[in-house]
């Protein structure tokens, strides 16, 4: 049991890192949303497995929220939004795919190199999970930096939060308060983001964040 529990937990969180990388080179919004749905469903499975192994009933709720809410509800809503805005082909990257993926590999290596020595005495099940979770967080950050489209920034941020929940689930016995609050914050964040996307669209006829830069107050400065 011990070895199998260990291996499956690794497989699931490792897969999340891989899917995070896949997210990075999507060039169409619809495809990106599908990959994100897979990311969230993997999170659901990973958290569910932690619930089983740790015997922590409350983690099933977190797994359910990840699977249903982030894996199904939010991608569906974002698909609808993308259709309504007619932007399914628009992805503006700041950095090319090659350099992005090399950066992604470097960040993953960094996550492992940073976490493994620091967690020498921690629960081994939590240890690798934390390393992978940090990698997912860093890849989410990278995605937010390399994309200028508002919808892809939302997806980058949510994949970052998936990494946080993976880390929280790996930390044995972490109280429920936190998981639920994270789920709620995602909900709130989503509403806020959604509102803003529509507002930006109303104002500028685009969701390219680059357009906003024209309006930066700083440019009036220096007089």
């Amino acid at each position: 049991m011990g070895d199998f529990a260990f291996d499956l937990a690794h497989l699931l969180s490792g897969l999340m890192v891989v899917v995070s990388m896949v997210l990075l080179y999507q060039d169409r919004l619809t495809a990106m949303l599908n990959v994100f749905a897979a990311h969230a469903m993997l999170l659901g499975a990973a958290v569910g497995w932690q619930a089983e192994v740790q015997g922590a009933g409350h983690l099933w709720i977190t797994a359910g929220i990840a699977f249903v809410f982030k894996g199904i509800v939010i991608p569906t809503a974002l698909h609808a939004m993308v259709r309504r805005l007619g932007i399914h082909r628009e992805i503006e990257t700041v950095v090319g795919v090659g350099p992005t993926l090399i950066a992604a590999l470097a960040l993953t290596a960094l996550a492992v190199l940073v976490v493994m020595p620091a967690t020498e005495y921690a629960n081994p099940l939590a240890r690798e999970d934390l390393a992978f979770a940090l990698a997912v967080v860093l890849l989410g950050l990278l995605m937010m930096i390399t994309r200028r489209n508002a919808v892809s920034q939302i997806v980058g941020f949510m994949s970052l939060e998936n990494g946080l929940i993976l880390a929280a689930a790996g930390a044995k016995g972490m109280p429920l308060v936190v998981e639920v609050s994270v789920a709620f914050s995602v909900l709130i964040a989503f509403i806020v983001f959604g509102v803003f996307v529509f507002r930006i669209r109303e104002r500028f006829d685009t969701v390219d964040i680059g357009t906003l830069e024209r309006y930066r107050g700083e440019q009036q400065d220096g007089a």
């Binding site: 941020f157 972490m174 936190v178 906003l212 700083e218």
Partner: protein, 482 residues
């Protein structure tokens, strides 16, 4: 734990929650502005009650010398800002910059932010504190974007992205602290309680704690506006409504710094962890000097004072990084004095922007001729924040500099240079605003300056004579901070 002790705590947290529920439904802006003031006054009364009941600890909440004074300061400034906000919003409606429809949301978000900050300050649980700061961030995002202009949307978007990423990294740091504690304290709520973490700090895994602090520093440091994590701050201050600028500068920055200091106490309890002090000293000095230099290039009055807030958070971070009873005392006092003075300045700036119809220094001239009362109030605020005696900011800055001379004389040099650069910019801009020929188009508005004067009198009194209980209070907390 007797129920009597808990009651004021429940009141402090429940009043804003109730207020949110009521204000979301309120349709008339006059009623909602009045309700906002009313709820803020009740919150202030609850905070005073909590102060009287004194320190106690429960599983989820903690009231001690450190947080109670911040809770009281928050409730007080929250109250005066609500009073200022009522007048300010009325004028914004007249000029059509805001619509009555949106004000229910505005007032509800104001109370949500106040409640979330109280939760963050009072929780004895690092997860719950994180929730408080997250909710405060989201509610201020909504308020920053309320004008719906392209600039406001840009500012809100930037604030949201940077704030969320920061807060996400802070959560990761929180998880690492938990993992470190779980090995010793056995998981569950006990491993997330400040009291437990502090008591067993020496036995926790130093490597994990150090790693956690890196994330906590980036996360909460972003919220505290420390350079180089400050990018959201000037935009959010400049484009949001002025009452929001006042509470952002006066309160939210403090709460983020408070969170960092709590973690600093834990790390200080474990000699094998990375030294936190030098990191804070460096970030503080960089913030101070960078912001002081940037002051000269600002042409927008709200952006100018936003950079001044970065400068002062730098001074506070420097003081706490230096450590020791005197520097900590100075840091605590500076935090308080800055909050009171900066929110008063933003009140005055709000009135100035309304009478001159502009936030640009180029359009603001000769207020001492056209609006003498407003000019005097503004001048008091700016002279105080510039660090001139006899105001309280002078005393705290003097203490920071002298404690630095006593401990690390070499560091006092850049500190003093930064303070002087900032001083020059403030006096230069003050002259611009006060003197010259006023534009005849300025609105002849009679502003209520009561909140400004209340704050300035407190700062003045603190500069001349710090009451004994307050002094002892600062000393106790300063000793606790190590």
């Amino acid at each position: 734990m007797t129920p009597l002790l808990i009651t004021p705590l429940i009141a402090v947290l429940a009043v804003p929650s109730l207020a949110v529920a009521v204000l979301v439904m309120s349709a008339d802006y006059r009623i909602s502005a009045a309700l906002n003031v009313g709820f803020s006054v009740v919150s202030l009364a609850a905070a005073v009650w909590l102060l009287i009941e004194g320190p106690f600890v429960t599983e989820l909440f903690l009231v001690d010398d450190f947080n109670i004074y911040l809770v009281l300061l928050n409730a007080f400034i929250g109250c005066t800002t609500a009073i200022f906000s009522a007048a300010y919003i009325g004028h914004e409606l007249e000029t059509g910059r805001l619509t009555p429809r949106i004000l229910g949301l505005y007032h509800a978000m104001y109370q949500a932010m106040m409640g979330a900050m109280a939760l963050a300050l009072l929780s004895n649980n690092i997860g719950l504190m994180w929730v408080g700061i997250e909710v405060a961030t989201v509610s201020t995002v909504m308020m920053v974007g309320i004008y719906r202009t392209p600039q406001a949307l840009e500012a809100a978007w930037k604030y949201f992205i940077l704030g969320s990423v920061g807060i996400a990294l802070a959560f990761l740091g929180t998880i690492f602290v938990y993992v470190a504690a779980e090995q010793q304290l056995g998981g569950g709520l006990a491993s997330m309680a400040w009291t437990g973490l502090k008591a067993s700090a020496a036995t926790l895994d130093a490597g994990l704690l150090s790693l956690a602090f890196v994330f906590l520093l980036i996360g909460y440091g972003t919220k505290a506006g420390l350079v180089p994590l400050h990018a959201w701050l000037p935009d959010a201050h400049a484009e949001g409504p002025t009452p929001v600028s006042a509470v952002l500068s006066g309160l939210l920055l403090n709460v983020a710094l408070y969170a960092l200091l709590r973690f600093k106490i834990i790390l200080a309890g474990n000699p094998a962890t990375i030294p936190v002090g030098p990191v804070l000293v460096v970030m503080g000095l960089v913030s101070l000097i960078f912001a002081a230099v940037m002051l000269y290039r600002r042409s927008d009055i709200k952006r100018f004072f936003a950079y001044s807030s970065i400068e002062h958070m730098g001074i506070v971070a420097f003081a706490f990084g230096m450590g020791g009873p005197l520097a900590n005392f100075a840091g605590l006092m500076h935090m308080t004095m800055h909050s009171l003075t900066k929110s008063a300045i933003f009140f005055a700036v709000g009135h100035i922007a309304q009478v001159t119809h502009s936030q640009r220094f180029a359009d603001i001239r000769g207020l001492s001729v056209s609006h003498p009362g407003l000019a005097v109030a503004f001048a008091f605020g700016v002279l105080a924040i510039a660090g001139l005696p006899p105001f309280g900011v002078f005393v705290s800055e003097f203490l920071v500099v002298s404690s630095s001379f006593a401990r690390q004389p070499l560091l006092a040099v850049p500190l003093a240079i930064g303070l002087l650069i900032g001083f020059g910019a403030l006096i230069w801009r003050l002259q611009d605003v006060l003197f010259g020929t006023p534009n005849p188009a300025y609105a002849p508005r009679q502003a209520s300056l009561l909140p400004v004067y209340v704050h300035m009198i407190l700062v003045l009194v603190a500069g001349l004579w710090l009451p004994d209980p307050v002094r002892r209070w600062f000393e106790t907390v300063a000793a606790q901070l190590g």
